[in-house]
Symmetry: C2
DNA sequence: GCGATAAATGTAAGCGTTTTCGGAATGCAG
DNA sequence: CTGCATTCCGAAAACGCTTACATTTATCGC
């Protein structure tokens, strides 16, 4: 069923049908109602592809993410989708799995689909290869990066000062009397280095050993492994800061299994402030890196750009430490 | 940059450019290479919208979900997206928030966008209103339901026998010596009633009281609340089965806070077998309702239909009980 | 009721592709 | 070198809309 068919049924021209749908006030009430009745009777659905070809926009934005199963990403993408839906845009989703090649391929596909804009969630890598396609994409379409940073034509970055969040966590633990604080890090993630720097700064400022850092993979098992390694290597520690709630949950799990009291013997701090921080017992003190706020800022930024409004290329949010049960005073 | 521009640069016709892109073997190697060189030099990106208008397909499928932040949905959607990407299809995402009106609106939008098919993840409600639009959607596009069931033209359902999963959980607990088993349920979810029926059957078959059921909301707090209510009402119980890992985590949390040993005093069983079941201490015994398998079946089913292959309208998978640390022998 | 102005509707071009069809160029057998 | 089959390529229609412009119809002051 095309507009032509509706037009024939209503005895008007195809242009009038189009107007009834898009600019109802441009057509006389009488004819308008006649057409609307037929639209309803036939359950007419306009073809947005044909429309898109004419107006040169599908009112769609592409969202690239590493893995939507990650609760942080899921939350961000949820917020983006709802936000853009309210603005009348659709969301094309993808999971690159962190592969630069996949990312390249996806960007290509999304440009082919004529997206109006692109949002990349935490997916800029430090390799050169991954970024080139973002830069070229920026030439045809505005690109917003969440939790990543890149300078370039038509590229906007939304960030959270994650290093500052880690630093705050260290300060918080020091105030609780802790001196032997270990940091579990996965440097491979985008902000891994920024977080590490935050830890070092926090340690230095408090006269602690800034080398108490363990490189571990970003997973539940990684967190467990970290604890086992600390014990194997007979390290002295009363607190663990992690760059990921999931890692913190793993550390917590290992500590409890080994009979440690948390926070009685060891304090644990997570990062991201996901729902999972509330699910463990004890619940996890965590640094909130403002996932939702970043997502909202991304929507606002991209929408601004699409409206041709002047838009700052960089937005930085401040993290927030959320104390819960997994942190307590230094024992003794 | 349009094909026309490429054609002019290469000194060929637009048709030849199209052929170089879509059917390279139809054009003489010499001209082909000439065109390909220009395509690369100019970083040409074809307009899939124009293409879609001609071939009457955007190679896109729409996925409707309640809330992608739910880990179960996230996992399902991830699997769908990856699966369809490999088949050359894009995924249009949406979160209906469970509102029938939103669902209706989304379906409308996706039909306008000319999706090739629709997958609804766990979003058929028992109200009549929510289903009518699915049925009418089926008239223009194949619809696959995950974890829901509906009969109709062009409608396919992928299910898991969730009641059977709950029944198995009851049997498992009975084998461990438990007799006072409570079931925490949220009847508002699609399979809520099927699960309840599974619990009743399991209880009956083992000569237990099948009325030991508590209606609670599907959330962490719901699980906690359930435990408090059992205690307030002075119920006797040594095991709790839930319809949701999240609920189980809440119950576990409340029990641990109140000083109960799990599984020493009380056993807890979750449902969905999400990552979070591994994150708690003790980890949660859970019924796996085959989210990934359902998603894969949905992809296969929809693809089959799109290929005009005969396809069964209903696929039912069998759940699997995954024992972990939260269940143990009846105390004493 | 007349002409001038405003409102309503129709006509047709154009959006960037794919693809059918026919013509030109090429290859090959005789 | 001719004739025919085959390969390659271009012209043009088609996809279903939007919208500028043209045309028709309604409105209004006089």
């Amino acid at each position: 069923m095309r507009m032509k068919d509706i037009a024939d049924l209503a005895g008007v021209s195809i242009a009038t049908v189009s107007r009834v749908i898009n600019n109802p006030d441009q057509v006389k009430p009488e004819t308008r109602e006649k057409v609307q009745k037929i639209l309803e009777q036939t359950n007419f659905v306009a073809n947005a592809v044909a429309r898109g070809l004419v107006i040169n926009s599908m009112r769609t934005i592409g969202v690239l993410t590493v893995d939507i199963r990650d609760m942080f990403f899921a939350r961000v993408i949820y917020t983006i989708e709802r936000g853009f839906k309210d603005l009348g845009y659709n969301v094309l989703l993808s999971n690159t799995g962190g592969e630069p090649e996949e990312k390249k391929r996806y960007i290509q596909v999304m440009l082919e689909q004529q997206v109006d804009g692109l949002i990349l969630v935490g997916s800029v890598f430090r390799e050169r290869t991954g970024n080139k396609h973002i830069l070229t994409a920026g030439r045809s379409v505005p690109v917003v990066l969440i939790n990543s940073f890149l300078e370039g034509e038509n590229i906007y970055s939304i960030l959270c000062d994650e290093g500052e969040g880690i630093r705050e966590a260290v300060n918080y633990l020091v105030k609780l009397g802790h001196r032997d604080i270990y940091y579990f890090i996965d440097t491979k993630s985008f902000s891994g280095l920024a977080k590490l720097e935050g830890f070092r700064r926090g340690a230095r400022e408090n006269g602690l050993d800034e080398r108490k850092v363990l490189e571990i993979p970003r997973s539940l098992e990684g967190g467990e492994e970290g604890v086992y390694r600390l014990l194997e290597e007979k390290k002295k520690f009363s607190a663990i800061v992690t760059g990921e709630d999931l890692t913190a949950a793993g550390a917590l799990k290992a500590l409890l299994k080994l009979g440690y009291k948390v926070p009685g013997d060891v304090s644990v701090v997570g990062f991201n402030n996901l729902l999972l921080a509330e699910m463990t017992t004890p619940s996890l003190t965590s640094v909130d890196n403002m996932g939702e706020a970043m997502a909202m800022a991304a929507v606002q930024t991209l929408y601004n750009v699409l409206q041709k409004n002047p838009t700052p290329p960089k937005t930085v949010l401040t993290p927030l430490l959320v104390p819960r049960e997994s942190t307590g005073a230094f024992p003794g």
